[in-house]
């Protein structure tokens, strides 16, 4: 498989590629610098138009900001997801997943799901991803270990996934979604809490039982073997 610039061979364990590190850091900083004021502007204008109810110039500006931000952040999501696919190195895949999860959190902020974006950052980026990186460290003798799939697998999987994406994209582009009722304000956290303790009380309790079961199960699986 030609891994399209994500090559990391055994022979390249020497110096850290400073140039690429710097480039990556600058890209991340640029995305952040663009995202923060853009988000503030888009949300502020969205709130203003929601209260004023008239179609006025700020709505236009907010819409343009939203579009620019969506294409930047959505492009980041797509590129890092593609990086997960193309990279043959598990450490690089985990890093690309980090980018995807963070960019999806920014998309949640863009959709005014502020609480969900924060939870995505805390639980997903801060928790699940760390667990995955622990898994990478615990299960590889060397960070450069790789298992190459057979070409026929690559071809078959690529064909199936490409066809699936083409079909989904065509269907979604042509679909008539009926009456769309966007909510420019988003929701407050209080609504989520209220909803969790009324409508979604049973799933909420089930989730807590599930977390208890997971804790016991993980402790059981991870305990050291006792010779008997």
């Amino acid at each position: 498989m030609s891994d399209c610039g994500f090559r990391m061979e055994d022979s390249r364990q020497g110096p850290v590629p400073v140039f690429r590190l710097t480039l990556g850091a600058m890209l991340c900083a640029a995305v952040l610098v663009l995202a923060a004021p853009g988000l503030a502007l888009a949300q502020a204008d969205g709130g203003a138009t929601a209260t004023e109810t008239a179609a006025n110039p700020p709505a236009q500006a907010a819409s343009v900001w939203e579009a620019v931000l969506f294409y930047i952040v959505g492009g980041t999501v797509a590129l890092t997801a593609l990086g997960c696919v193309l990279s043959t190195n598990i450490v690089r895949m985990a890093t690309c997943l980090f980018g995807t999860l963070g960019a999806v959190a920014i998309l949640y902020f863009l959709m005014a799901a502020n609480f969900l974006g924060a939870i995505q950052l805390i639980v997903y980026v801060g928790g699940t991803l760390i667990v995955i990186i622990f898994g990478v460290m615990l299960t590889s003798k060397s960070p450069w270990v790789k298992f190459n799939p057979r070409p026929v697998e690559l071809l078959a999987g690529g064909a199936v996934c490409g066809l699936l994406f083409a079909g989904l994209a065509v269907a979604m582009w042509g679909a008539d979604w009926g009456r769309l009722t966007p909510n420019p304000d988003g929701f407050e956290v209080a609504h989520i809490g209220w909803s969790l303790l009324t409508t979604y009380l049973v799933p909420f309790e089930l989730a807590s039982v599930l977390l208890l079961a997971v804790m016991i199960g993980a402790a059981y699986l991870a305990r050291p073997e006792r010779g008997e």
Binding site: V77, C84, A94, F147, M172, T181, S195, L210, L211
Partner: protein
């Protein structure tokens, strides 16, 4: 094209879903397969939040996405515990080598 709507988010989520599916299909590293699962779960919750924002105007999509995040965290914890056991038993993380039950 300049007005971001439901379709944009849905197509982005579909792309993420297909990437995750491809990762799950071709990777032989068990942790890599877990990464594919995370991509797919994220695509699903992106869809849910997009529908909540642009279609229904209700909160349900966000709540379900919250449960998806909880389930993904639980699933990752258990999966990593299983992978560590797998590695201890077989001295590799290649899923093609776990064929002891092959009759």
């Amino acid at each position: 094209m300049l007005t971001i709507g439901l379709t944009h988010y849905l197509i982005l989520a579909a792309f993420m879903f297909c990437c995750g599916l491809y990762v799950m299909t071709i990777k032989r590293n068990a942790v890599g397969i877990l990464i594919g699962v995370e991509l797919i779960l994220n695509a699903a919750s992106l869809n849910l939040v997009a529908f909540s924002r642009y279609k229904t105007g209700l909160l349900d999509g966000q709540i379900v996405a919250l449960f998806v995040i909880v389930l993904a965290a639980a699933e990752a914890a258990i999966a990593i515990a299983i992978f560590v056991n797998y590695y201890n038993n077989l001295a590799t993380i290649d899923v093609d080598r776990g064929d002891s039950l092959n009759g």
